[in-house]
């Protein structure tokens, strides 16, 4: 037998252990699943603030005079429209239109882009972009140079503001600045994966432990809590955000995943464009929709979905919604049946349990 590769760890690993986090193997990374409990952490983020170590996420940087052209060619959204200091959700696609990954593109300058990508996809993404680099750009996988924290929740701004001279309120949603946190140079982006206001910060790993404890101390008066990947998943599910490997993967296109808004077919050539043009003409055959359980039970990831007693689709992500106190999820259905109010059944341990399709996001912040 081949021994399994040791789990990768972030610079915060010792802290997670010391603080008593329950750890989990997440795509080859030994990451905190929870500290005080998923429900407790989830509620902290909805009502106060939460701090997440998401340093497993990867970073890819594209530099050079052709950086805009290359970034535009490998992603689906309109890179030419980005201003320096602006970020954009986007897709990396294969020629056939399926997802390589979903990414956050940050424009640092006309000749420098900073991509935040999924942990387990980073090498694949890098190869994909490097292969497409027929121009004179430099493409670099720079994940080792960054710790990434997410500070999320209605009191995230107040917590983080105590640690930086920058006016955080002046950073608009999906914009970023290069500033400092607790005296450490940091990229501060007003982005997130929870459905709340908040920030994602990127800085050199050697400062990880101190910045972590400084943020927790600064946020203590506001009720900040350290959070794990468990709450990150329930939060993003309520916000209706896609997770690679669930809502999106190599055989799913953005149109099917209800992500048509990140596809700009009129922007010029990009990888996957012709497949998407063809799919737009022909129409999609399956589509992602939200659902909530009406019968007793929790529809979970990969459970089968029935329509009129016949297998018709699958749950991409499902579970309890702590905020709504319902069991919710997203599922793929034949596109002609993927309308709101459609009655469906989810097969839970060999029993068909009633559910109904509902609008996504399930949760929208009120501020």
């Amino acid at each position: 037998m081949t021994p399994l590769a040791p789990l990768k760890t972030t610079a915060l690993h010792a802290v997670h252990r010391r603080m008593g986090a329950k750890m989990v193997d997440f795509g080859g990374w030994d990451m905190p699943l929870q500290y005080s409990g998923i429900l407790d952490e989830h509620r902290a983020v909805r009502s106060a603030a939460g701090l997440f170590d998401v340093s497993h996420m990867g970073e890819i940087e594209i530099r050079g005079v052709d950086a805009t052209a290359l970034t535009d060619y490998v992603t689906t959204n309109a890179v030419q429209k980005l201003q320096p200091g602006q970020a954009q959700y986007s897709g990396l696609l294969y020629e056939h239109g399926g997802f390589v990954d979903d990414v956050l593109v940050h424009k640092i300058a006309h000749d420098h882009y900073f991509l935040c990508v999924n942990a387990s996809n980073q090498e694949k993404d890098f190869e994909h972009i490097a292969t497409a680099n027929k121009l004179q750009s430099s493409v670099e996988l720079t994940s080792d140079r960054y710790t990434q924290f997410a500070i999320q929740g209605p009191r995230a701004l107040a917590s983080l503001q105590k640690l930086t001279p920058a006016d955080l309120a002046a950073i608009r949603y999906y914009h970023f600045i290069d500033g400092s946190i607790a005296g450490v140079p940091a990229r501060i982006a007003r982005t997130g994966y929870t459905g709340e206001d908040g920030f994602e910060i990127y800085f050199a790993p050697e400062h990880s432990e101190r910045v972590w404890s400084d943020i927790l101390n600064a946020g203590q008066e506001f009720g900040i809590k350290p959070c794990g990947l468990g709450a990150r998943n329930t939060l993003r599910l309520e916000a209706g955000m896609a997770l690679y490997g669930h809502e999106i993967h190599s055989t799913i296109t953005p149109f099917e995943a209800a992500l048509g808004w990140i596809v700009k077919l009129d922007k010029g050539e990009f990888i996957g464009r012709s497949a998407l043009v063809r799919q737009k003409e022909q129409g999609i055959t399956r589509k992602l929709v939200g659902f909530e359980m009406t019968g007793r039970g929790i529809g979970r990831d990969d459970y089968e979905v029935f329509l009129d007693g016949i297998p018709a689709g699958w749950v991409s992500s499902g579970g309890p919604s702590p905020t709504l106190n319902k069991n919710i999820g997203m599922c793929y259905l034949p596109s002609d049946r993927a309308k709101l109010g459609q009655r469906i059944q989810i097969v839970i341990r060999n029993q068909a349990v009633d559910a109904v399709t509902v609008a996504v996001p399930f949760y929208k912040r009120a501020y």
Partner: protein, 129 residues
């Protein structure tokens, strides 16, 4: 930490016996491993259950876990409170968070279960502590 009057299984269930009726639950270790419990699926009153077979499930936010029947018999009562308050399993796994009461059909099965001390030792070995 594990009550002396309970009998335990390696699947992390317990039985509290009085005469021929056993109250069944999951252990403190089990609830800790599961995390926040949000849903409990129990057999119906009158169901015949068999030692070692799944008789229901508990679900945490993250995962589903089968409940294995520690003793054979007939279900004579279920803990209805868990339908609306599944968190009782986290708060009081050896008390208010009990699952079902079973009238034992093979009382001798109890002899094969673990004592509190043996169960504690088993958990310690399993977690490497």
């Amino acid at each position: 930490m594990y009550p002396q009057d309970l009998h335990y299984t390696k699947q992390h269930e317990w039985v509290r016996l009085s005469d021929d009726v056993g109250v069944v639950g999951i252990t403190d270790y089990a609830q800790q491993e599961l995390g926040d419990i949000v849903y409990v699926d129990l057999p119906r009153v009158g169901a015949k259950v068999e030692q070692g077979k799944a008789m229901g499930s508990v679900e945490s936010v993250k995962a589903v876990s089968d409940i294995y029947c520690p003793v054979s018999g007939e279900v004579i009562e279920i803990n209805d409170a868990l339908a609306t308050a599944p968190e009782k399993l986290n708060e009081s796994p050896h008390g208010d968070g009990w699952l079902v009461k079973i009238r034992l059909s093979v009382p001798a099965e109890i002899q094969g279960l673990l004592s509190a001390a043996d169960y504690e030792k088993y958990v310690a070995e399993e977690t490497g502590h």
